[in-house]
Amino acid sequence: MYIIVVGGGRVGYYLTKALLDEGHEILIIEKEAPICENIVAEMGSICVRGDGCETATLTEVGTGRADMLVAVTGDDEDNLVACQIAKHKFNVPRTIARVRNPKNEVIFKKLGIDATVSSTNIILEHIEEEVPTHPLTHLLTIRDKGLEIVEVKIPPESTTIGKPVKELSLPAESKLSLLLRKEGKPVVPTANTILQAEDQIIAVTTPESEEALRTALRGG
């Protein structure tokens, strides 16, 4: 695939390395001359100095034949515009934007950006996972379906311990997928599975039912 990366900062740099390893044809557009020179010195002539929001620059690097454009500068507005120009002027089939302010994800989607990656949200989720007392951890978001995969831990003081799954008032939009225990293999929970302290449950849910799922599993 021919992939254009807008922004040669840390994200752009490591992304390019990873994509080159996978055998893709990559081109970076970077505004700052020193950054551009460093990239060229290390990885060869795969960096063009210019503004990724400017039609002239995008024409020069052959955006018309690009399969994908990824905008990873530090400014949300620049990433948005680079993707929109690629999409509407050069008909690039897939555009991906880095979003720093998580609030912008919605508007980017609405404006036709194919995928957004919110660095802030990803960092938050990972830190959340590391907090031992956190009741519910987000593991994965399945965007197209509006679903997420979460993990719920059952603390020793839960009122649901000793109860079978069928007696829990689980929301209809949630499905328990996997049960992890200290001892034994992971199992798929059934209606008769009895909850124990320290159980870890992996479930699929809609973001709206998250709270209800947590309450059903851990008690009020």
């Binding site: 400017e54 039609t55 949300d76 929109q84 509407h88 302010n101 508007i107 404006l111």
Partner: protein, 132 residues
């Protein structure tokens, strides 16, 4: 008419001043309080510190009741993004965007944004002056 102006530079401040003396209800946004020095002492509108790319700031500026939104910061991309938020999220009836880059202006015009490129307009004026 209620108007929200993003960017209190020379153009933003001048527009705000004119609309205000016409009796329109004006809110000017800028990320830097120092920019508000450009507003006259008798300015009756609201000067609000904040980033116009932030929906909460726009709400505070009264964008939900606004008849028009104008983006005149120094950054083309900032203007473009703010105008698209005003148009698509808040359904402001009239949205006008300044885009210095003529090519970018053309593209966003075709995407349904009322955009003005001062670059083209000023170059035209200069050409007409030279040729007359």
């Amino acid at each position: 008419m209620k108007v929200v102006i993003m960017g209190c530079g020379r153009v933003g401040a001048q527009l705000a001043t004119w609309l205000d003396s016409d009796g329109d209800q004006v809110t000017v946004l800028d990320t830097n309080t120092y920019s508000f020095r450009r507003l006259p002492p008798n300015f009756n509108g609201t000067a609000l510190v904040g980033n116009g790319l932030d929906e909460e700031v726009l709400k505070k500026a009264g964008i939900e009741q606004a008849d028009a939104f104008v983006a005149v910061t120094q950054g083309d991309n900032r203007n473009v993004m703010a105008c698209q938020i005003a148009q698509h999220t808040f359904n402001v009836p009239r949205v006008i965007c300044r885009i210095y880059d003529p090519l970018r202006r053309d593209l966003y015009s075709t995407l349904g944004i009322e955009a003005i490129s001062p670059t083209t307009i000023f170059a035209q004026i200069l050409k007409e002056k030279l040729k007359s």
